[in-house]
Amino acid sequence: MGRKILFITTDQQRFDTIGVNGAQYSRTPTIDGLAAAGINYTRAQPSSVVCMPSRATMLTGQFPSTHGAWMNGVALAVDAPSVAATLHDAGYKTSLIGKAHFEPFIDVFGNYTENSLANLGVPTVETNWADGRRGPHRGFDHMEFATHGVAGQLHYAKYMQQNHFDEIGGFYSALDGDLQVNAAGGGETNAPQVKINPVERGHYHTDWVADRTIAWLESLDAEDDFFCWMSFPDPHHPWDPPASELHRVPWRDVELPANYPTAAAEREALLDAKSRHWRMWYDGQLVSNFEAPKTWVPSTLTADQVREVNALNAVEVELIDEAIARVLAVATARGWDDDLDIIFTTDHGEFQGDFGLLFKGPYHVDALMRLPLIWRPAASAQIAPAVVSEPVSLVSLAATFLNIAGRNAPYWVEGQCLPTSSGDAEDRGFDHTITEWDSVLFGVAVHVRSVVTKEYLYTEYGKGAVHDGSEGELYDMSEDPLQRVNRFDDPQYAAVRRDLSQRLRDHHDRPHDRARPGVTVAPV
């Protein structure tokens, strides 16, 4: 019997929404407990700030420019490498419960397994693997899917349709009649993607994901090794948690974020110091990411809307924390504490009002790029608790899972196992991370590469719809932690810029087999 792995992900969650990381409103005693007993990474970065490329990185251990799912709406190739398949080969029972999103949700032709599995009524299907064999889809023996609402054919949607049909209308409709991301306002401030949802708490997708995870864990033999990916759709928009829970964080009591200047002129001056597409989005002149509602103009965002969104976000985070506690109680009851590794993270962040913005897009700052990441190693591993402030990337997750399982990382894994201490990080060269963005949407192309070190955040924009290839951003995070002062053209930072630019070129030129970039088959 080896070490078991519980991999917990949320969707679109900022670093500073966890208690141990300084959250002001969401109380997260369970996640804080994992951090206290394990390793809390305080500079964890995604490979991409949107769901599909970032999640594909978790599964493959590869950057988007390698695995080929380079933007939302581009499916990860069905035979892409999968750490779940490698663990399955190692004898692990494997499951993914909740939000997968390796394949697009909008699937008129029914081409994708994620969308058809609930209708098929089977826990998995056989598909092609990277090494030419066939096996359970992406290596998972058992899959049950959910996303941010109750529309569609995923397991959670069908559960609600079949069992709680009367509650379906209470959820926010993520898409409008044109299948665009809905810009309609709701709640008490008319904030976009907000709705007061009368759904009973136990029927909300957060508790459903925990319930289904518990059911799967209880189906295992006590001696089974397992890799369980429990993937909560929240706190990604829409923000429509159960109304019964809103009392936890009254929105009128929520203070505005440090990076939300209340004066419009100050917000706009901050945006003007960045690359031009920031201000263009703010003014409603450019939409480069489908998940930001096309008809919503960020400059219309009010302070009260920021407060309400952040209150609802905090409520959703608390529900996740409580759901995790229920799952961990089952693990304890089954006697797995000594041999259970738990890793908690998310796929990318959320503006939550920073710079007067909501949602996400090709904007590489901490709001979207600094993530919670906690590894609570199994007690049997005897790894001391630590805080690691060196930059680490989600590209390291696959190698970490394999390390836990006692397996060498295959040739296709680009990341190395997460460090277990700052000393380990320094010894193994964890000194920077890379985040990529590529999008091409109806004639608007945006290409971004960023490198983060302990001291700097540096971004270059490739040629695209609004960039000529010469623009960028450079933030000195020691003196400017909110990333307000762009040093890209500051002569005093010329040497820093040369060094960081070279790191981006090294990343671009890295020797690694690349998948053919996938084709956009849906907006998301």
Partner: protein, 133 residues
């Protein structure tokens, strides 16, 4: 209204490719997710693998231009136009251009993504036919 377009250059005579794409009743042999189809006059109905039916109207079947055009008439779409052009670049050299225009915009991506993979299959079948001839 949004447009998506994919092209494929194939080292095969254009008539071989036209033999594949110009046959309205054969789309299920090369378009992903289509299990079968029926053609009655200028109305083609796609029977999808997910159980849905997708009605279309055939607009152009021009063997001289080697152009095939159709529109999806499902209420999902306010407007759709699919166009496949097979352009002769040489005796054994063709360019296939498959374009999609759609309202709502989002569905251009969905159908357009399908056309990319359709081109993969059209190319594969064309190469196989050319090898036989």
């Amino acid at each position: 209204m949004a447009t998506v377009r994919y092209e494929r250059r194939v080292p095969v005579a254009p008539d071989v490719i036209w033999g594949i794409v110009g046959d309205a009743a054969s789309i299920h042999r090369w378009f992903p997710g289509v299990r079968d189809c029926t053609v009655v006059g200028d109305v083609r109905t796609l029977h999808m693998a997910n159980g849905m039916d997708m009605p279309e109207k055939i607009l152009t079947v021009d063997p001289i231009l080697r152009r095939f055009q159709y529109t999806i008439t499902s209420p999902l779409y306010r407007m759709h136009l699919g166009t496949i052009d097979v352009i002769e670049l040489g005796p054994q050299d063709s360019l296939i251009v498959y374009s999609t225009v759609s309202d709502p915009d989002v569905l251009a991506l969905v159908v357009g993504g399908g056309t990319y993979f359709a081109l993969d299959e059209i190319e594969r079948q064309a190469l196989a036919k050319a090898a036989q001839e």
